[in-house]
Symmetry: C2
Subunit: 796 residues, 2 copies
């Protein structure tokens, strides 16, 4: 007590000290050793002057909420770009807003209408998002299809018809017979006037490459000039944003517009990429834009993320025609905070989007996707072995793809090479187009190829693959290995398919990460189709209808996608919704789980997590367990020879001292303590809020000078008569900062950060402030523990 | 400082005080006002003697984990019956165990095998649970079917055949033609020798009632004598258990056995109950029993709950034949802590269970449920109106049902009437049987009735309902309201169905909550079938094939179930899996959401939450938002005129003082503070652990006497030479108790409790201990805020 009094003499004996010494005196007299009743003797608790608990509640709660009701300082409570949000604070803000609306509700009919509008705005915004996502997906599907066919030729009767629509009259719409349709002219026919011969082949080849290059160039230029955020798949960034990071403009209207246009161009250019990831990005842009119509969502970063979760479900829903799968994808893969309310809304958004897309009917088959299939043949238990084998291959492919792609992207980032994105895209597009054209399986649209591979061979099918199959079915009597009955067409189909597989694998590694919108799903789905040929041959001796080759293609695709993304349940449900048969869940499950396990053996990260780490986003993965035995005091700052933690005292600093501390440090917030001696924690104040509050006070209050006393208590400290007007900053003080003790294991701290969505946490020892742990500290510590470069966490 | 020294004089100047005064002196000399480096001057931090951070980590972390490695005291870390678990502590324990196994892994091949076994035990236990649940569900289905038919007659060719199996040869298996089968004898035929006439009708009536009463009596007696926990649906209790409450024996082998047997009897007795809820309970019992095979799960209450979540998914999966719906049910309705790993395992368990059930094939239709249907006719947009109307009715029915049922159950609990459960069950069973027999729709099994209602009328159908329908379809030219073409059979069918509806509604209210296994799902599904008659008549003028009456039945059933349980997504997915058509999701969604909203308007609780509250279980619902503005200090204890909080000091109490505090209070744990004066918090010790540790020390250590000093610090305090041996209790001290400040809004506190699964939380003000908030305090406060009786929280 003596020391405190001595220390404070220079500033005058303030009220805080007189109270503490009084209560200590009481304790001295009391002497018995029973605990005191804090409600009557606790030091500056009484000074707060809140007599009854009821009023105390209201006032103090709003105090916590930065005095939003009493004196809202504009800007307080918002975030800078590339900063992490505080979920707890955002949720409190929303509840405060909700209470305000609820209390006003009974005042007038207008307020009641407003409260109704507010209550329904969540459903409204997801409905609008679903509508927009479905419509955009439909438009993208139709236009990409048309542009893709434009590479080969043009419809004379109506320019805006794609190949299939142009040839609607003729029934041959399969790949082999495509060219027999009078209205559809290839470029060779148009320019050279002849359909056959080497000259026309070269002309078609040239036009194909020309269009592909034009589309690619246009796409990359648009991205570079108008919206740099529109490149790539977008899912790593969306995961980061949903986990509570701010990237302004990433989900804005420009990104939406450019992403939609360039996605069409990129898909049409024939690059080895899918539109599924970008569709999620497009849907999230819609969600973000529509959320600005509703103050409930536009002004609250946490609530906005609920809309984005629902939007990502809608995106997957339209990408795969799988509403339930979309919800599970949002839950399993991208979302961070997923309350049950969001589950319902995601489900609703996904359904609305799916039904809009079905009404647009872009594929003319009343289905949501091009490659919807229905199998009816059962599978047998012995087939589980090849399915698991497919899973193993899928896992290996996934691990290989992630490593190769990350290595390539790292090289792009670190070397001079990455400085010419346009050149890179054009090179890749040129190689893709030149290599793709001679092979019919690579020349066509990837979705169409998948459709052909998935489809069961029926009597109506006339593709080369089916020639093979029907031959095989006819030749079951032959021993395995004897391919006497296979036609030459089958051999060429097999070779072409093998080449297509190798080509797609290589090109996808280089394509994913380019500066154009690019998705992963579809290319991955392609990869392992090839394998069933060998398996097929062996097993088909057993029984006549034993094998559904399309099923193998599907299981293989799921396994590859599982290996690359490490999704499980959502992937199985997505493929289940594509096939519509519960029977095939077990093979899918077996393959996908195997693929995940095999992939995890080579590295626990999926492609999205790997890209998040590559880009250094501050993403605290909820899936990865923190298993080390470190304690909070080893992670907190200051540590070792660091300068001491910058703290503010509650009532004995001048404005000059405060500004000095702010300018000399770079941290985002400062703990406020009772006094330097006791180090007992009062609260936490954010740098941004202090700066804004000081500026605001300077503008509005007179008499604020550099030697004004700054205080965070309820009442101003007793000051000498000639001192300038003090500045009260209690309204920006967070009176309930999260604290842990220095002995808390880091596994618990990490858990708290993940589950509550914290930004920082203070560390105490026996009631005294010791240090601070921020989300960045945790990420750095985790990187250190995993022997990675701790400085790779770029952003704040 | 003076006061502390004075106070401590009696015990001698201990090391703690000397250090604090030293550091204070330094601060005095330092004087400048910059914060000190706590790593060198913090008081008893240095005394802990951990020089390097690495060793400090290991030692202190295991210290937190109750010194499990160093000196495991048997019993420490377990829970009493009817207590709440501490999720954070359990998860820490599991990670510690995992690390131990991992570090030993490389020692020998045996240890490696053990670690593999440990890693796979999660999958093993859910596989076993899935297998057992599927098998039990199959057995229950088959035996209940047989017993149900036993009420009407017996198969002469083979006693163990049910009616359908007995009449396998004849093709007439519909209800109306059931009796025309030579091997199947009704009781009248067997006893009186005649099949027709009033005598035989009375004989059949009597035997029907006799068997129903016998089954009901047997069921209630078995439950009463062997396993009182086997009664009811079980879902409210499972929700409570999953939220972290201990009810020993609720999921034990006796409960499993008796529940399985009595469920069969109760279903067969014709009581208005379903087997779906109890199947979830049965599956959870399986999960609990199998978890005892694996130390990973048997010794950790949090891990065990992961298995139970998966088990409940398996239970719903076999109850409805809907694996994905089961997982969503577990996620949406029952689970509390649902990490992604549990999602995968739940999915797997649900699949395994579904496939075992399909292999058993209890219904002879290769489907998982009796009432699997496939609709192929599309629905029209104008039908949304009746669907939404069905939703409104469903919501109203749900709200009415919950109120009526809760009122009845409350009366049963509070009055003398509840003392005779056997009599009550027999009365209800007798009324049910007597009223049910004359009406063919109530006489038959509820599942069979639902099947008949759901099924589309085809040319093969011969039930009276379909006579009506075909008549109606033939009479579309007639104006609405003219029923000229309806046959008398149709009228009687309509009347019987209406009566059946009213009867089922009334009986279900009285049945749910009886002391026999009883589920809700199926009876609720029945309720609103009736409505489509009227709707049907009006709309069928529009087009020939416009209406699928079965679809209305299904939507109505979903709406009612939604109104009663307030499930949304999982319910839609369950019904979607029953019908297998994505097309019907929108009607279902519309009806279920409407039903939920209408129901919520009358009270936000579903039937399970209402029963949880009725029984006073300490369940902190994650769905309900806490919207009040109270602060932590208003909820914490002590409050007002309460006796002061019982605290322990870290190194100046004797064993006698400690035992005195323990015997005089009833709280479950005590905060440990530095000294009475400073009130700075060191940690938290649980009552149970202290008691066990003292007993253990008395048994094993010599020289422990009543005036032994008890200390929680790392090193023993300096004691006079003649004092007895001190007792070190640091190993049971939780060094990282959760704390919040007294200004923290309760909404944040409730959030922390929910998300982290806390048991208690300490409240501080400016670094000083002020009080404690337990889960019970929060529940009591929430009840108070909702104007309910705060003392209704029975359990600790």
């Amino acid at each position: 007590m003596e020391s405190e009094q001595l220390f404070n003499k220079g500033y005058g004996r303030n009220s805080y000290n007189s109270i503490t010494s009084a209560s200590s005196d009481e304790e001295l007299l009391d002497g018995a050793g029973v605990i005191m009743d804090f409600h009557t003797t606790e030091d500056d608790n009484l000074l707060d002057g809140d007599a009854s608990p009821g009023t105390a509640a209201g006032a103090s709660s709003s105090t916590h909420l930065l005095d939003l009701l009493e004196e809202p300082i504009p800007g307080v409570g918002t975030y800078d770009d590339f900063h992490t949000i505080d979920w707890v604070r955002e949720k409190c803000k929303d509840r405060e807003r909700h209470r305000k609306i609820n209390s006003k509700k009974k005042e007038s009919a207008w307020e009641f209408t407003k409260s109704l509008y507010d209550a329904w705005s969540g459903w409204l915004v997801v409905t609008l998002t679903g509508l927009a996502s479905g419509a955009l997906a439909g438009v993208i599907d139709i236009v990409a299809d048309w542009l893709n066919d434009l590479k080969e030729g043009v419809c004379l009767s109506a320019m805006w018809f794609n190949h299939e629509q142009c040839c609607w009259d003729s029934n041959e719409t399969t790949f082999a017979e495509r060219d027999k349709c009078p209205q559809w002219k290839t470029w060779a026919e148009l320019i050279l006037g002849q359909a056959e011969g080497p000259g026309s082949y070269i002309m078609n080849y040239f036009m194909f490459t020309f269009w592909a290059l034009s589309f690619a160039f246009l796409a990359v230029s648009l991205v570079k000039v108008f919206a740099p955020y529109a490149c790539g798949s977008g899912i790593p960034e969306i995961k980061t944003i949903l986990s509570g990071f701010i990237i302004r403009g990433y989900l804005g209207k420009w990104t939406l517009m450019i992403k939609t246009i360039t996605l069409v161009l990129a898909v049409a250019s024939g690059l080895s990429l899918g539109k599924e990831g970008p569709l999620v990005h497009v849907a999230c842009c819609c969600g973000n834009i529509f959320s600005y119509l509703f103050p409930k969502y536009s002004k609250n970063e946490a609530k906005k993320r609920e809309v984005l979760s629902a939007a990502s479900a809608a995106g997957v829903s339209v990408a795969f025609g799988a509403p339930i799968g979309g919800v599970l994808f949002s839950l399993e893969e991208v979302s961070y905070y997923f309350p049950l309310k969001t589950l319902w809304r995601s489900f609703f958004a996904a359904l609305v989007a799916a039904f809009v897309l079905r009404s647009i009917n872009p594929f003319g088959n009343s289905r949501l996707v091009l490659f919807y299939v229905e199998y009816h043949t059962p599978w047998y238990l012995f087939e589980l072995f090849p399915f698991i084998l497919l899973g193993v291959f899928g896992g290996l492919w996934g691990a290989f793809f992630i490593r190769a792609n990350i290595a390539w992207c790292r090289r792009r980032k670190s070397t001079r090479f990455g400085k010419y994105p346009v050149l890179e895209v054009i090179t890749v597009a040129a190689i893709t187009a030149i290599v793709a054209f001679p092979n019919p399986y690579t020349r066509q649209n990837t979705s169409e190829l998948i459709k052909e591979l998935f489809t069961d061979c029926g009597p109506l099918e006339s593709s080369q693959l089916c020639q093979y199959r029907s031959q095989m079915n006819g030749s079951q009597a032959y021993p395995a290995g004897s391919d006497a009955a296979a036609t030459p067409g089958v051999y060429s189909a097999m070779w072409q398919l093998s080449l297509a597989l190798v080509f797609k694998i290589i090109m996808t590694i280089f394509t994913f990460g380019l500066k154009v919108p690019s998705g992963l799903f579809i290319p991955s789905m392609l990869a392992y189709y090839h394998h069933d040929w060998f398996l097929f041959r062996e097993w088909c001796e057993v029984g006549a209808d034993c094998i559904t080759p399309g099923l193998y293609a599907m299981v293989g695709a799921a396994a590859c996608l599982g290996g690359v993304t490490r999704m499980t349940v959502s992937l199985v449900v997505i493929v289940f919704e594509l096939t519509g048969g519960l029977e095939y869940i077990v093979p899918l499950m077996a393959a996908v789980m195997t693929s995940k396990w095999v992939g995890d053996a080579f590295g626990r990260e999926g492609i999205y997590e790997a890209h998040i780490r590559l880009n250094g986003y501050p993403f605290l993965d909820a899936k990865e367990e923190f298993t080390h035995t470190t304690l909070a005091r080893e992670v907190m700052r200051p540590w070792g020879n660091d300068p001491p933690l910058a703290v503010l005292t509650q009532d004995d600093m001048t404005l000059a001292e405060l500004q000095n501390i702010i300018s000399q440090t770079s941290c985002n917030g400062f703990p406020v303590i009772v006094s330097k001696e006791s180090q007992r924690l009062v609260g936490f104040a954010l740098r941004r809020d202090i700066t804004i509050a000081i500026e605001n006070a300077r503008r509005k209050q007179e008499g604020i000078m550099l030697n004004s006393r700054v205080y965070f208590t309820q009442h101003a400290p007793t000051l000498p008569a000639d001192s300038p007007r003090p500045l009260k900053l209690r309204s920006i003080l967070d009176m309930s900062p999260f604290t842990v003790t220095d002995h808390t294991p880091m596994e618990i701290v990490v858990d708290i950060f993940r589950k509550l969505g914290l930004r920082q946490c203070l560390v105490t020892h026996n009631g005294r402030l010791l240090g601070i742990i921020t989300k960045k500290d945790i990420l750095r510590h985790m990187a250190q523990m995993a022997n990675q470069d701790p400085e790779s966490i770029m952003f704040n």
